[in-house]
Symmetry: C2
Subunit: 212 residues, 2 copies
DNA sequence: TCTGTTGTTGAACGTGTGTATAGCGAGCCA
DNA sequence: TGGCTCGCTATACACACGTTCAACAACAGA
């Protein structure tokens, strides 16, 4: 006596979109660029092909939504690990580094996802906008830490904007190298030491020429 | 009185492969990931579709060949701009920076090409191998400069390997940021200043903790 | 229990993909 | 000038893609 199997279950559009985003991210992590596929994502989410175009005008919009979800999630997790009022600016930078150099972020699978996003920036305004927004977020946060550091140590504050660019680039570069070469030539501990040493350089006035 | 138009011209396989690689790079620069297409590349090269599979077992091998050509070309141009015997180690680093931060390398179109390569690293052993080889090349060159710098300035040489990782990451990160955000928040001059300041930090002993 | 709304399905369509292959023809060499 | 080699063309094939749309069915409210 089999039940008349229910063919599907309805859920709220907002919740369904969330599920689709999660399935899309799993597809991107597993298949890279080939994971940008209505059929693969629908299969991963356990729904029919047509459902994606019912909730999104095109697959690009789903990917853009996925990018925004992932990028903001990581940003919040990393910056949320830093108590903005406790300790010195130097302490806050160290806390930021510890959160940034965590397995959540330093995961080679993540690069496969990110590379897809980067490749779509030029053609998709939605993804470009999401990228610019999170990028500005990191710049703002790092500039805040460095401005505090400059104030506490009496360094010239004119260097702050550019120094934040440099630190951001260093962190991105370490992440990139880590993800591209899984058989690593350096440890997470060493990666943190590189970032800390960069701040040491700032504290020793090595970045004075940026003020010119 | 029209000539009986020649339908094609034969050239040496080696030369033809070179033309195909150049066409592939133009396609990647223009169309990004969508440029990885036998039909697009064949059209760009002005040859028939089947010719690519005549010269390469699969399109992935053509892309790998293109990657190797481009990566080695840039590597040779950048490292070739540094006279390995003249001046101090610091001079050589500065010369390297000037060559690296040139319009040849700092071209947003180049990122579109590179992103395609990165996305294929996981699935294509040929591309992975080409990447590892050029990566090792940069590591070797930078380690050389930094070892000379350490010897000239009496710094502990144990830090050299890891410092090269840091410098390489910084350069990659600056390049990435430059290419991802064409409406730049910094100039090439400032980018060079960031790299020079990093070396200042090394010279001031900021990277002593790497030796631990 | 019936009805209306709407989230969901799945087949269909046109396009683009990589590869295989049969045959054409350009250019070399005797 | 003939013939032969092989670089090259162009068609064909099977498959995957994104999108569309008419029909279906789950669930809320009456």
């Amino acid at each position: 006596m089999t039940q008349p199997a229910r063919k599907f279950t309805r859920i709220q559009p907002e919740l369904r979109r969330e599920h689709l985003v999660e399935a899309a991210l799993r597809c991107l992590a597993e298949h890279g660029h080939a994971g940008v596929s209505v059929r693969k994502i629908a299969a991963e989410a356990g729904v029919s092909i047509g459902l994606i175009n019912h909730h999104y005008d095109s697959i690009d919009q789903l990917i853009a939504h996925a990018y925004e979800t992932l990028a903001i999630g990581i940003f919040n997790r990393v910056t949320g690990a830093v108590d903005p009022s406790a300790g010195t600016a130097r302490d806050r930078l160290s806390a930021f580094f510890r959160a940034y150099f965590s397995p959540d972020v330093f995961d080679p699978k993540l690069l496969g996802v990110w590379v897809v996003f980067w490749s779509m920036i030029r053609h998709s305004p939605a993804i470009k906008a999401a990228h610019d927004r999170t990028n500005a977020g990191y710049a703002r946060v790092l500039e805040g830490y460095l401005a505090d550091l400059a104030a506490e140590n009496g360094l010239p504050p004119t260097t702050v904007r550019l120094a934040a660019v440099g630190l951001s680039a260093l962190l991105d570069g370490i992440w990139l190298q880590w993800c591209l070469t899984p058989e690593q030539a350096f440890t997470i501990h060493e990666a943190i030491a590189l970032a800390e040493s960069w701040v040491d350089g700032v504290a020793r006035g090595a970045y004075g020429r940026l003020a010119s």
